[in-house]
Assembly symmetry: C2
Homo-oligomer: 729 residues x 2
């Protein structure tokens, strides 16, 4: 048996692996479909090898049999890009030359092979759609990890404080632009965070919480970051040659059309789904958002109410235990509710029946963002804008809760508020923000990294126990590895492990970052150390995500992207909302606004509104200014684009030059009027009946005569006015 | 002498006329320059004729000597358009064919000849820049009116209620896209106005002033109009083939560079002016705007204060005369002040030293808009948001004015407010709006149409008187017409008249329309009949502008444009501001908010702010929705663009098809693996030391073997779990 290290060193030239699982399929059908699968792959020039897999699955290894043919596919893909405007210039006309001038990178290779396998037969692919329709036995289609590279990657990243642009380029070359965009975004965000971290720490020491100065600086920072990222995104897209790639629309397979028409303009067949019908479905988003907000809000508000009641009103028995009640409710009910709402959102988005994958993803992301927004920020909103200002009015109503705990109460007194009356706990807000920006981030980080590991270990143990038990019962199925050729055994074991890993979804990680940015934008004025916590968290997060991709997930299929997509809108939205909340929080809580009973005493509605109103418009103006300033920035990517465009334009000019040269110039006509043409004109004038026009233009011939006549006019006119000359006459 | 009607019928094939005025130039220099002028024109293939002009001027008539050469210029211009992305497709390769597939229109012809005359010699033009530098004797360069067409035009427009798209197309063909855009905008605006006119009239009858319903409907209408125009603008630009024409940047002649660098990317020489230096100058806009607002505001506020004092406080003598005092001050001082500020703005914009003509115009327009905004809307703002709510506080301070009128007062009593105390005149606001939306519009209309006529008549009379006086003195200069050939006399007289006309500036008319739209958006809730007045005014305005162009102005040079330019931003700004003022006005004045002393009694700051805040955000949401809805609209122009783009893409595909066909496809590699290649592999394996990879891929050869081996795996695996089969074993 080959040593394990060797198994990690080679991928046996495998490009993709298909895990074909037939546990739920009849034997004969499974065999037949497998045969069809292998044939389909062979038909697009892919070589295959089959090996045994775990529990009712086989592993099908795929590789490209001829590099030359693959280059043809790549070239075609590049030409298509050019026609869709992704590249400014067409690739050189010779394949070899094209590949030399712009070498193939691994992600491009893998993407093209993936498309070759999954594209419909009509578009030249094998038409294999994992888990869908005819191919539901194809459980997974994935590339193998490059363990040598992964090891270097992790080692390199953990060893340096800052990621360099080349590190991100490396990810793009390996894992594709979509994932590279996530890392680029997080790295930019991390770099930008250093400023508010430093400034926040100073503000925390010198200015305290709710400082207007911190609020203004933080808001401006958020604007600069958001706008700068928009600029950076374009730059990266140009640098990676994927600008406008989102314009190449991939049709959704699940799109159902209502009618088919022939486009009167292009003559192509177009599948149509009426926009009005989609709009009707889209309108369901409003009740959905309201319902979700209502449900989640009610849950959060209830737990909040219970917590306030128990910790600040209730004085009865079991207080130490009851204090945990809201947390228990939240941690049990919330995931269930969120799960239900998420699947509801997915169902709704499917019903909206989008034509393209991008539109579908955008619509889904928007809905998910609403859910996340509520669960992430509502608790703090409640504390800041309901509990603190209106606590004195609302809390007494919480006495209804005392009915619930009455059975536990030993005497009436315990159910009543302390004699001094209820007082608002002004520290609650800060504690809550610290919880969300520190504790929750750590917990989340742990869950993300540790949970999958535990899950994997548990699963492996379970499988081992199962096979041991089966062995005891005598009917033990032989290990799938039993038939492995000894020299491939280690490799195959590794592939079987990779086949069992989860699929990496980059949007989850992106969402996490955007939500984190939200705390900074919306609430960091409450606790200026927020950014310090995030700097530490994000430094780890970047490395942990790398590790997650390397160790805990299957190697992701490299997709292209030219933006972080709908999350960009979320960023803008959060930045805008931050201008409202920050100003409101500063007004409500600064300047010792807290009265003796712990709630702000001297606040007035109009002043609050004026503050928010002013702040929002200052936000608009600053954003406009920042946008303008950033739009003037030059960058390597934009320079590259300009150069490409210039070259293309030049090429056009050259191509048309010979043609344009042939066409006569006006200037050449300058010398046309000769004695001959004059005579010709005179002859024509005598031949035909002359018109006033001909006679008008016949009075002076050639510019010299015009100049001479003009000279006469000028000299005579000058004579008329010059008094001296007049006298002489 | 030819009859006058004939002079109006023919333009003698003249393309352009130059009025060369040498009153302030020395004789010898004038002659020399004239010679140079004629030579320069001849050098670009233009034929000339010279005739005597009025008072120290000669008229130089220009025509293209060879149509074929002109076509060459036109073709070159079209190719340049294509390279700059104005056209999707290159023009057909044969000139003749290109002109047949897309015939030349008059405005295009005139534009190209104009450019031929004015472009620098380095770009193939004659380099003649009217009124500037070397050519300051070239007083004017203009085309002659087409009187037959003008007559038809006026007759047609006055005879129909609605202008059809073809009417606007006709203007585009004659006067160019820039002017056509003004007429298209005004016509769209007029058509859109019919709705608020009808709705406003009903609202006036049924709901009265300050109706929230009217306010909401009016605001939505403003949004729809603004957004629809943005859509329409693109459509028209595509229809007229000028989309993206604003991207072709024309350099400003007055641009002064600080250094010259070679672009590292394109290798072109670039003239640079540091952006930071420009920014410093641009920052002067802030003190300028504040200063202008201060000056104009002080003037308006003073007059306002005097007016209020005299009409509502003062009871002394000369009241009937003194009442006109503010009007007199305003009408005398305001134009002077505005004039000074406008020239100041122009100077400031020149100092900003923009590189392109478009950037210069935008910057200037913005400054002018600020001035216009103040003079047009500030009086109403003062009444609505200062006089009415705070009148009771402010008006008593106006008593300082009584010191001024004390000399006129007969007794102390006349200087004191009526005994009942000062009461606010709630009707003042409405009267003011009616003044601005009816009276001022009529006055303005009259000024625009009648003033130039009177000016022309007066000027002609003055000239006649002068020559009569000169004749009496004996030294009468002979009439310039004295030497005219009798058959051209009428024509030349007409040309001399046209040379004296003003130059038409379309931005003035556009500004008028945008400012009018402002009254509707900002204040029409005060007097819902506003739109009715505007409908009537604009119907006349459209025709009056046509008449103005035909009769009172020189024929405008046809410029291209793909938008109404910076006024679009003004429109958006006004629409936004309307959402604030309308809601504030409705809140302040509706629901019998006026107390017994005539000023709103029950208003509270926070409710006002909340109303405005809510209204503004409703505005943002509605605008987003309207934008979305309008972006889904299809239109002939957009269809045309799509068709063009499709054709270009198809052409690319075809051009590359033969090439792509030659490159091998992956699918062709499918059958590669034959017995021979297998044997070859085996031989290779024995020749070289085999690697694990080679051995891995050598186990199964060809897809059939893979399928067979897979079948084995599947069947065995299925056996393992099926309990029945197990028992059988």
């Amino acid at each position: 048996m080959a040593p394990k290290s060797q198994a990690l060193q080679t991928n046996m030239d495998v490009d993709y692996v298909i895990s074909y699982r037939f546990a739920k399929t009849e034997k004969a059908v499974a065999v037949q479909k497998f045969e069809k699968l292998v044939e389909a792959l062979a038909s697009v020039g892919l070589q295959t090898e089959v090996r045994n897999g775990d529990n009712h699955s086989v592993l099908l290894f795929i590789r490209v049999s001829s590099d030359e043919h693959l280059f043809g596919e790549i070239y075609r893909s590049r030409v298509r890009d050019w026609i869709h405007g992704v590249r400014a210039a067409a690739p050189p006309k010779e394949t070899r030359e094209a590949l030399e001038s712009e070498p193939l990178y691994e992600a491009e290779r893998l993407r093209i092979i993936y498309q070759l396998i999954t594209n419909p037969v009509s578009e030249g692919g094998a038409g294999i759609t994992p888990k869908e329709g005819e191919w539901k036995e194809v459980e997974a289609l994935f590339a193998l990890h490059d363990h040598a590279y992964n090891k270097d990657w992790l080692k390199k990243w953990t060893g340096q404080w800052f990621l360099k642009p080349e590190d991100i380029d490396d990810i793009r070359n390996r894992l594709g632009e979509k994932i590279a965009f996530y890392f680029a975004f997080t790295q930019s965000y991390f770099a930008f965070l250093l400023f508010p971290a430093a400034f926040g720490a100073s503000a925390w020491l010198l200015l305290g919480s709710f400082s207007p100065i911190y609020g203004i600086v933080s808001s401006i920072w958020c604007i600069v970051f958001t706008e700068w990222w928009k600029h950076q995104e374009v730059d990266l897209a140009v640098r990676w040659g994927v600008r406008n790639v989102s314009r190449i629309e991939t049709k959704r397979k699940d799109f159902k059309h209502e009618k088919q028409i022939t486009d009167p303009i292009t003559g192509e067949k177009v599948l149509l789904y009426p926009a009005t019908k989609r709009l009707q479905t889209q309108l369901l988003q409003i009740p959905f958002a309201l319902g979700a907000a209502g449900l989640l809000g009610a849950l959060i508000a209830t737990c909040f109410g219970i917590e306030v009641f128990i910790s600040e009103v209730y004085g009865g028995p079991f207080k130490t235990i009851l204090v945990f009640l809201p947390t228990v409710i939240l941690t049990t009910v919330m995931p269930v509710l969120t799960g239900i709402l998420t699947s509801f959102a997915t169902r709704l988005t499917q019903l909206e029946n989008y034509e393209t994958e991008a539109a579908y993803q955008t619509a889904l992301t928007q809905k998910i963002f609403v859910l996340n927004f509520i669960t992430s920020y509502l608790p703090i909103f409640l504390t800041a804008f309901v509990y603190v200002p209106f606590g004195n009015i609302i809390v007494p109503y919480l006495d209804v809760l005392s009915l619930t705990v009455r059975p536990f109460a030993e005497d009436e007194k315990q159910l009543q508020a302390p004699e001094a009356g209820f007082t608002i706990n002004p520290d609650r807000l800060r504690k809550q923000v610290i919880y969300f920006t520190v504790t929750a981030q750590i917990v989340n980080f742990g869950m993300e990294l540790v949970m999958p590991y535990l899950k994997r270990r548990g699963f492996a143990k379970y499988k081992k126990m199962q096979s041991e038990r089966a062995a005891k019962n005598g009917g033990a199925p032989p290990s799938p590895a039993a038939n492995d050729p000894p020299e491939d055994a280690a490799f195959l074991e590794r592939v079987r492990q990779e086949a069992e890993l989860d699929v990496y979804d980059v949007t989850t990680d992106l969402r996490e970052m955007v939500l984190q940015f939200g705390y900074l934008s919306l609430f960091s004025v409450i606790w200026p150390l927020t950014a310090v916590s995030f700097v530490i968290n994000d430094w780890l997060e970047l490395r942990a995500d790398a590790m997650k991709i390397c160790v805990e997930m299957r190697r992701p299929t490299p997709w292209r992207a030219d933006t972080i997509g709908p999350w960009l809108d979320s960023l803008s939205f959060i930045t805008w909302l931050g201008s409202l909340t920050t100003s409101a929080l500063v007004y409500l809580f600064s300047n010792d606004g807290l009265g003796p009973d712990g709630h702000p005493s001297s606040i007035t509605g109009w002043a609050l509104l004026l503050t928010v109103f002013f702040s929002e418009h200052a936000f608009f103006i600053v954003r406009w200014g920042v946008r303008l300033a950033i739009s003037k920035l030059d960058s390597p990517g934009l320079q590259k684009e300009r150069r490409d465009r210039f070259l293309v334009r030049n090429q056009y000019f050259k191509e048309n030059l010979s043609l344009l040269e042939k066409i006569p110039r006006m200037a050449e006509a300058g010398g046309d009027i000769t004695r001959e043409s004059l005579e010709e004109d005179a002859r024509r004038a005598s031949l035909h009946a002359t018109t006033p026009e001909i006679r008008f233009w016949a009075r002076q011939k050639g510019w010299k005569e015009v100049a001479a006549v003009g000279k006469g006019y000028i000299e005579r006119a000058a004579v008329e006015v010059s008094p001296e000359t007049k006298k002489e006459l």
